[in-house]
């Protein structure tokens, strides 16, 4: 959605907002299905987690994954992570935690995310949208409805202004 092209996908397939390009229109904030973008009041530009782009560039893992004392945040190639998560889910399921599920791990969600969660309750309990979708899903039908509206308004104008306007 970003009208300035400030939001880019990096060589690591992560999403980064370039603060020197962003003009603070805030279109992206309402567009993000997960509500993760915010305005940085100091710079007046949109901001979100960069997945430590600077650290990734020098071959380090993101600081959060490095620091997390319970290793709850895992970083690595997505395929590996999926395998590990699947194993963990079956382990939990066998241990009787039947609600254990992965959120965003398969391609069904928005064509596949590069980040996913292991949950033991419904997504909304975690503040996650149960059914996140692309904002562009509405673009076509919204536009067509407006075009139909424009035609109807024009016809109404033709009727009102022609038949009545020509008479004195």
């Amino acid at each position: 959605m970003c009208p300035t092209g400030a939001i880019i996908r990096t060589e690591f397939d992560t999403v980064v907002i370039q603060s020197d390009v962003c003009n603070g229109c805030r279109d992206c904030i309402g567009a993000c299905p997960f509500g993760v973008i915010d305005i940085n009041p100091a710079s007046g530009t949109a901001q979100k987690c960069t997945l430590c782009y600077d650290r990734l560039q020098v071959g380090l893992e993101p600081a959060c994954a490095k620091a997390c004392p319970t290793a709850s945040i895992q970083f690595g190639p997505v395929a590996d992570l999926r395998k590990r998560a699947d194993a963990r889910v079956s382990q939990l399921q066998n241990a009787g935690e039947t609600r254990a599920q992965l959120y965003g791990a398969d391609d069904k969600m928005l064509g596949g995310l590069n980040s996913f969660f292991l949950l033991v309750d419904r997504p909304e309990v975690y503040g996650l949208p149960p059914d996140p979708r692309l904002p562009t899903r509405n673009l076509k039908s919204s536009s067509w409805l407006s075009v139909i509206g424009a035609v109807v308004v024009s016809v109404a104008g033709l009727i009102s202004f022609r038949t009545r306007g020509s008479r004195a």
């Binding site: 959605m1 567009a31 993000c32 007046g44 904002p135 673009l139 509206g149 009102s160 009545r164 004195a168």
Partner: protein, 298 residues
Amino acid sequence: MSAPSSTLFTAPPEWHWLIIFYFFLGGIAGGAYFLGALMDLFGGPLQRPLARLAYLVAFPLTVVCGLLLIADLRRPLRFWHMMLQSETLRPMLKVWSPMSLGSWALLLFGFFAFLAFLGALAEDERWRWRGLARLRPPGLLGLVVAVLGGVLGFFVAGYTGVLLTVTNRPIWGDTTLLGLVFLISGASTAAALLALLGQRRAASSVHALERFDSIMLVLELVALIALVVSLGGVARLWLSVWGALLVLGVVVLGILIPLGLYRRSLRFGDASGVAAAALVLAGGFLLRVVIILSSEGA
């Protein structure tokens, strides 16, 4: 228990009063222009002074709109990043982003509105450069300006609603009808403003506007009902002060009462048309207030 709408898990862009005024005035600017064009194309000579009025209104409002939008940016001086890529200075356009396309449309619309404004000014006897009057129909150049500008006027009046639906915010992203609603409301508020400003012009031409606006108000009512239905469970957000404002302010005060007043004005030729037009403008403004703030606060 059914899952809540996913739009409730997103963050508000904090579009507030500047944007509300922009949506309102942009609807009038676009609406006034395409009404001017429709009157020029289909109306008789009696309609011409009102069409002229429409062009005189559209351009200044468009300038105000541009300023409102720039002022709303958190980095206003970077407004041109919408048009040019800041590093390469190549044109920046994403056709699938209503904000990107809309910025271009507004700029282009401003250009046509300026031409038509000049053409309208030039119709004044005291104006010196009469050649500019060719920027208005019936000449070929005037027709091109009227038609292209009119199409852009429709775009400017409607894209703001489409933009809201192409987000993931509650209410906005839960319907596809906002573009249509804003378009009709833009036509309606523009007709009301022209009827107000044109009171001293030929009565029959003002009555044509009142008739037109009556059609718009009925359409708007139908579209609003469809909008509420399309929201499904999310419409519950309007079981609040916003819903009350929508029913009382937008529907009763801004649609139903003006419909009655227009009828009176058309039948008896009294001044109730003035009150109707003023109420339509107020209702159109409240519509934007409700649509924007009810989602922002959710």
